[in-house]
Symmetry: C2
Subunit: 383 residues, 2 copies
Amino acid sequence: MHPTDSHRLHAHLIGQQGSRGLLNTPSLSLDLDMLERNIAAMAAFARKHNVSLRPHSKTHKCPDISRRQIAAGALGNCCAKLGEAEALTDGGIDGLLITSPVVTQPAIERLMALNARAKGLMVCVDHPDNADALANAARAAKQLLTVIIDIDPGLHRTGVASPEGVVALAKKITSLPSLKYAGVQFYCGRHQHIEDYSERRKQIIERTEYLKGILDLLAKANLKPGIITGSGTGTHQIDCELGVFTELQVGSYVFMDHQYNICDLRGENRPTFEQSLQIDARVVSRNTAGMATMDSGLKSMATEAGPPKILSGAAPGSTTRFMGDEHCAVIAPEGQDAPALGARVVLVPPHCDPTVNLYDAYHIVKGETLVDIWTIAGRGRSR
Amino acid sequence: MHPTDSHRLHAHLIGQQGSRGLLNTPSLSLDLDMLERNIAAMAAFARKHNVSLRPHSKTHKCPDISRRQIAAGALGNCCAKLGEAEALTDGGIDGLLITSPVVTQPAIERLMALNARAKGLMVCVDHPDNADALANAARAAKQLLTVIIDIDPGLHRTGVASPEGVVALAKKITSLPSLKYAGVQFYCGRHQHIEDYSERRKQIIERTEYLKGILDLLAKANLKPGIITGSGTGTHQIDCELGVFTELQVGSYVFMDHQYNICDLRGENRPTFEQSLQIDARVVSRNTAGMATMDSGLKSMATEAGPPKILSGAAPGSTTRFMGDEHCAVIAPEGQDAPALGARVVLVPPHCDPTVNLYDAYHIVKGETLVDIWTIAGRGRSR
């Protein structure tokens, strides 16, 4: 039995020259050379700045990519949810940090089962009641659970909301013998996508001052964190310059969706990473002058960051527009033709993480040849 | 082996009183009594108006729901894509109409394989080149393929763009011995969500005049269609009053997402169907006054129709806001408390079809008891 529908449809094409052109569309393509260069470039950056990498797997949800990141020096992976951590552990990946709180009773039971088999597992906590619940479960299971305190950088999404609250929670955790206090997390999510480098830098400097104040309080209370984790693809250069984090949670650098590609990541005014993640679509209707309808829509692309960008297959200057659940239009510039019926158009998704979450597998390509199919083991594992 | 992650996590809870409260969240709940009442109500409506039903499965992608629609009198199901039709056929469902053109060579090969085993299969066609390609493939496979001509109602998404084009395509199809001309499709997608009944009615009357003109031309050319298919949950009452369609493609009435719920479907100024599809979420962080963060975000809800609505679990007047891939905030009204850490909040998705496409299974509930888990067999089958 094939592990996914993509394997069922396309496994026989692996290794056949030009086979990318034979794929049923829409299909999620991942350019292997670009992916490997992105992984190597971030690994070299981290070595140069003497910082550890624990890349965020919420972007890729795929043990095959985790293994490549770890082979390049990463400590493990971050996971957004417990379900993703289960999927990566099943895929043989150690060193996982779950970056959201695990709060409900059924989830805490699963966390303990995972902690019993996953090497180096850590979980974020942001509330004393949750610390108690985790400690009770760990004690009952005769386990030691390693926790990281999540600090709210001002997003009000998750995290402890005040410096005093962080110190109090660290004290509480160290008083609970079944919990191990390993460090703090400070993830400035909103800041990652500020397009202008100097504006992003200014805001991150301000937020880092806030973090430093908390670290000073912790040090004074003899609660200096071993791990200080945070950062992202958008701020990794700035964060390393400021030198506070011991490890980086960068995720999207492996794929470089459009949202990140328009951000000047290092103040160098040029792309730092390559757009390895692509959607192959085809024209399935073409009855109106200047436009054509492709077979990829709301069900094969995340929509909250706008329509997709065209990488190839349409006249330069062509744009796209969502046309419902299953379709997207390509609109040719004035005086140009839209792509022909059946023609392939290669798209770049606006936001990679929720787009990946729609697909069962990556079609791994080298140029025009399908070279492998990797299951997206963590797809839909938001529980 | 469990068919889905939902079965693995929750199959042991089926039939246990109050087990809905033990589900790992976010989970997609489907209220069985409401679903069955919706199916029965639309079936009764169709009988009363002497029109056939071939409900659109792009909404639910689930053979268990198809079977209930067919048991209530439906002819079969519509499918948006070939992959969905394969999934429903595997689930034992006959009488499928694929409502988008199947154009590419690999897809046409799969269509022929499906046509050899699927009873009553039909596919839409909107271009003479596609008719030729389908005819050649059917001839080579020694098959007869039944086709429906898709007519563009002005959306410019798919469909033949002119009345003369429809007649020419019908003539062409009848000249190709391996194709059987079964009828026409006319789906006014945009009109379905016009909130005001009389405005929706006015626009549908105008569009129906356009369709009638085409039907007159076809009759004069001795090409009268056997099937005239179209309509949707938003316009079913108006379409039946106008009496042109022989069958209805209604889909969302089974679930009634927020988008449809705010439309006055029958000019009666009251809800016609019940909101059977719900998302169970839980509060996982609560450190800021007046708000709480739930465990459901961009990866468990379609976002293009706005944030979700709250059905229960929060103070009346509470609102929601997306907080990234995995989280959503519930914001209490002035002077009220947000739900407690760990509390369950039941949400209604803004747009059901792409939300369903994110989940592996429905959790079938009767009140607070999980009574079954149904695999969403067509999830992600957009190819």
